[in-house]
């Protein structure tokens, strides 16, 4: 194939992609002359080039399409049938181009069918509607006639003339034909007329600017074969390796004359690498280019109205990655259009806007690219997925899973819930394939669906695959590389450091800034040696996978190195723990850890709290019960598991039973320089007389209480959903935790058992007259948990279970010294409650403290606007007390 033809093919297929998109836009805004002019110009160019290269079939098709578009410009109403026809024509052109690329020549066959339709449509077109601008408004054309009939592909002179006038800038700039010379004159004459009928003459100018910019841009870009770039990338990879090798050698040599030049080499290499990676970058819009067309066709086929919004199309990523995500993206968008969005009729009935929206957005976030596909459709059919999951044996009938967990099943292999096999989706290629593709490139996919509101899929992918910075670590004498993108921080633990690895039963955890971080030893995850694991002197690599943080314990951390990722051989590819391997500067080969594989091995569920990136509004919508919290599960007296929210427990201890003393009929133990009373959690629990006695320790301003239990079982993260209430004192009720019915104990019940004055006692510094606090929370559970804390601190607490009730109480009982309110409540939200309270002059001064599971900036901002004084995390008892102590002076005045 000659170069000319190859260039033509590349250029034309690019142009056609643009035409695709533009046509869909045009259908929506039929009066936008800019779009039409652009399409017209592109098709015209294609036609012209085809004529030049001797491709009659293409030429004839392009000509027929152009003619029809010419009619649009003359005011023919744009019908969707017509647009469909043109799109069909473009498909045909693409098909011919495909054959052309393969064989080097136009395929046999004719396009009379399409041409006939196009001609019929342009000729049989009804005369333009009265309101529409009539072509007659233009200055009459000088009618020039040709001696013979026009051959297919030929343009009548008046059409040519018009084309010149419409695109005068480009023609003047590019075309040197003398015929073009009179054109500007005509155009100038026409301009006032154009202004007169176009209310926005600015458009014309904008278009010109764009054209010129395009012109300038064209001069500065160059087409390069992908292979050339790939080869370049390989060479740079080798160069990086060699550089690393040299650096490694130099690390052992203190003084060397090579040091400075090597440093320079190193810098240049880094720049070169960056440059080459940049050449491989492409805007994600390239992967989106086909979507408007697909969505449009789907909308027609499914009888839905769909708007496709695209944000951040300019976000760049490696073309290798772009290739991998192209199909998954298309699939997801198809799914949204087919299953996600309702039909127009349905939407009307539901009171939603008739037009459904699919929003695509892409942006950079901490070295990764996030792509979101959101629709405002009906959301996932949880019941249906559940049914299917049970049928597939993925879950049991009785399993209590959150909706979010059930939704995750759509990523399971061979999972499709489409009731019917439509033309569009449900062809067996499901979300599992999408997930596999994304996993392959080290990305992750997350899903959020709200029934009736829509579904949002978030895909996170790395910027590039070829060269990544990685942290080198050692575990059990083996070295591994962990991609830096997943590493959040490093924590060192040793005998003197303030961080220590603690154990909950057998699970190692680390307290890190008021959060409990689950830990895992890399050596045990990788089955390296099951012998002694170093916990006294170790490093913890805190990683973020999805929204979940986890800590990996390693023996040593070396440095960070730019590693060239090489794929693993197929014999190793079944290892989910690794994403590849690499050669280090010292010539050794090491495995690259796959954070996703690690996390799934750890059993960490990817949903959960973690860092919230969503917007405040969305967060607030999420039901409290959906949010998993950590429970400490233990046994006491019977086989049945019991649980207490982990956050309420200060410490877990195992003490030697011989240290337990009895005094005054109570069990006591010397603990941290004081005496700590021990209370068996129920009558069946016997305090041990030998061996180790597990205790749950509660400490509250210098007082400690040890609850005696038989065995600490585990820490399980699950959502709290009390299924059966309880009349028993000391028990809140039963919930399913970790798949088992578990008794949830009421901590508040036990505290006074040890100290009769636990609730009566005043906190040091509290005033004589009690501060009155109104506590608003819809969840009796949280009330139960926090109430004792507040009472113990000397506050007089009144509770309300809803915003409305709280307002009533305030109205009735007069001023409170402070109000503590939950944000997520059914009916009146905390925000609304605060706003309402603020509006009433009598209560405008009462400080309001928000209790929230979220503390993202957006939520806090929203809270401040609503009138909250402070924000406290839901389980942060100490934080709540501090906040109450520091509420503005109004409190003491009122008190």
């Amino acid at each position: 194939m000659d170069d000319l033809l190859r260039d033509f093919l590349t250029e034309t297929s690019e142009s056609l992609d643009v035409v695709d998109v533009e046509l869909v836009r045009f259908e929506q805004e039929p009066n936008n002359h800019d779009i039409l002019a652009n399409i017209f110009r592109l098709v015209h160019t294609i036609k012209g080039t085809c004529g030049f290269l001797g491709l009659p079939r293409l030429e004839a098709l392009a000509h027929a399409a152009e003619t029809l578009m010419g009619k649009f410009r003359d005011g023919l109403p744009v019908t969707s049938a017509a647009v469909s026809l043109i799109l069909k024509t473009i498909d045909r052109i693409k098909k011919i181009l495909g054959d052309l690329e393969k064989s080097g020549g136009e395929p046999q066959g004719g396009d009379d069918d399409l041409i006939a339709k196009l001609v019929a449509m342009s000729e049989g077109a009804p005369t333009p509607a009265a309101g529409q601008p009539k072509p007659k408004a233009e200055p009459p054309l000088v009618v020039q006639t040709l001696e013979r009939e026009l051959r297919p592909g030929e343009v009548s002179l008046d059409e040519l003339e018009r084309a010149f006038r419409e695109t005068e800038v480009e023609i003047v700039a590019v075309d040197a034909e003398p015929a073009a010379a009179p054109a500007p004159v005509t155009a100038k004459k026409e301009e006032p007329a154009a202004e007169a009928r176009d209310p926005k003459p600015r458009r014309v100018n904008i278009r010109r600017e764009e054209d010129q910019r395009e012109e300038a841009a064209k001069a500065q870009t160059l087409r390069v074969q992908v292979e050339t770039l790939e080869r370049l990338m390989t060479m740079v990879s080798e160069l990086v390796l060699t550089r690393n090798q040299l650096l490694e050698i130099m690390r052992h040599k203190q003084d060397s004359e090579f040091k400075v030049p090597l440093q320079r080499l190193s810098n240049v290499t880094a720049e070169l690498q960056e440059g080459v990676i940049k050449t491989r970058m492409q805007p994600i819009g390239n992967a989106w280019a086909k979507l408007p067309r697909i969505v449009r066709d789907l909308a027609k086929e499914l009888n839905k109205e769909i708007e496709l919004e695209m944000h951040g199309a300019e976000t760049e990523l490696d073309r290798q990655i772009l290739e991998v995500i192209r199909d998954p993206l298309t699939h997801i968008v198809r799914n949204s259009a087919d299953h996600g969005l309702e039909t127009t009729e349905e939407r009307r009935r539901l009171g939603k806007p008739e037009q459904g929206t699919i929003r695509l957005s892409a942006y950079h976030e901490s070295g990764q690219i996030v792509i979101q596909i959101a629709d405002d459709g009906k959301g996932l059919n949880t019941a249906r997925i559940r049914e299917k999951a049970i049928a597939k044996g993925l879950m049991q009938e009785g399993d209590k899973l959150s909706d979010a967990q059930i939704h995750k099943f759509i990523f399971a292999s061979g999972f499709s819930t489409a009731d019917r096999i439509t033309n569009v989706s449900g062809r067996g290629v499901g979300m599992d394939v999408v997930k596999t593709n994304i996993d392959q490139i080290g990305g992750s996919i997350d899903l959020k669906s709200v029934a009736g509101k829509g579904t949002t899929l978030s895909i996170k992918i790395p910027l590039t695959l070829a060269i990544v910075p990685a942290l080198l670590v050692e575990s059990a004498k083996e070295r591994f590389a962990i991609p830096q993108s997943a590493v959040v921080e490093l924590v060192r633990v040793n005998a003197t450091s303030k961080h220590k690895i603690e154990r909950v039963k057998d699970a190692p955890v680390l307290r890190l800034r008021n959060k409990l971080l689950p830990l895992a030893h890399l050596s045990s995850l990788l089955n390296l040696n099951k012998g002694a694991v170093e916990t006294e002197n170790a490093f913890i690599v805190v990683m973020q996978v999805g929204k979940k943080n986890l800590g990996i314990v390693v023996d040593t951390v070396f440095h960070t190195e730019e590693i060239v990722v090489k794929p693993m051989s197929s014999m190793l590819r079944d290892l989910t723990m690794f994403s590849g391997n690499t050669i280090l500067g010292d010539g050794s080969v090491i495995m690259i850890i796959d954070p996703n594989g690690l996390a799934s091995t750890l059993g960490a569920r990817l949903e959960g709290e973690g860092n919230e990136t969503e917007q405040a509004e969305e967060e607030v919508r999420v039901n409290e019960a959906e949010r998993p919290i950590s429970f400490l599960v233990f046994r006491a007296g019977s086989r049945e598991p019991k649980a207490i929210p982990l956050s309420l427990i200060t410490r877990l201890e195992e003490i030697d039973a011989v240290k337990i003393e009895i005094s005054n009929g109570k069990y006591l133990v010397q603990y941290r320089g004081g005496l700590m009373p021990l209370v068996p959690i129920n009558d069946q629990v016997k305090v041990r007389s030998e061996g180790m006695q597990p205790l749950l320790v509660f400490i509250d301003s210098n007082r400690a209480l040890g609850l005696v239990v038989d065995e600490i079982v585990d820490v399980i993260e699950d959502r709290l959903d009390i299924q059966v209430g309880s009349a028993n004192p000391g028990t809140i009720g039963s919930a399913i935790i970790g798949g088992k019915a578990t008794e949830i104990l009421d901590v508040a019940h036990y505290l006074p058992l040890a100290y009769a004055d636990w609730f009566i006692r005043k906190e040091k510094g509290a005033k004589d007259s009690k501060c009155r606090v109104l506590f608003v929370d819809d969840s009796a559970f949280f009330c139960n948990m926090l109430l004792p804390v507040l009472k113990a601190a000397g506050y007089d607490v009144t509770t309300a279970t809803s915003g409305a009730e709280a307002l009533e109480i305030v109205e009735r009982e007069g001023s409170f010294d402070a109000v503590v309110s939950d944000i997520e409540m059914p009916g009146m939200s905390g925000f609304e409650f605060a706003e309402t309270l603020r509006k009433n002059a009598r209560f405008a001064d009462i400080p309001i403290i928000a209790l929230s599971s979220h503390s993202s900036a957006a939520v806090v901002e929203r809270g401040r606007k609503s009138g909250f004084h402070n924000f406290v995390a839901k389980f942060d008892r100490q934080g709540l007390l501090t906040a109450l102590k520091h509420v503005p002076q109004e409190i003491s005045k009122a008190a």
């Binding site: 080798e238 390796l241 083996e478 070295r479 990788l526 089955n527 390296l528 090489k566 693993m568 051989s569 197929s570 014999m571 190793l572 079944d574 290892l575 723990m577 690794f578 391997n581 690499t582 050669i583 010539g587 050794s588 080969v589 090491i590 495995m591």
Partner: protein, 150 residues
Amino acid sequence: MKKTGEIEFVTVTIGDQLFGLAIDRVHDVFAADRVTRVPMARDEIAGILNLRGRIVTMIDMRRCLDLPPKDDISNQMAVGIEFGGESYGLLIDEVGEVMKLPAAQLETVPVNLDSRWRRVAAGVYRLEEDLMIVLDIDRVLEVQPREAAA
């Protein structure tokens, strides 16, 4: 395997057994030092190593054939193989010589042979002193389901 003509083999010993590898499949022979272990990998994978800038996956033929590990693991020799565009190395005890043998003399694998051996054996030659098992390299490198490998 063709029944006519002669085939050239590189002979190697694994345990006490002589094996033959078709010479056109053998890329090179190298000393396997600094092998990096790959945790969680199937049993017969000895690890990976850097061979002149290429990452080679090493297969321990002793483990593959269910033989006890070698006492002295220094100076391990390996045969380099290209398979499906990837580089593999078969860890063996010793490399012997190159032998040209008539294809027609290849005999079928005895049915009573250990199933692990039978899987990777393409046939047997009766040499004057020894029996030489022809190793079916594709079978060795074939990705087996995990259960079979464990």
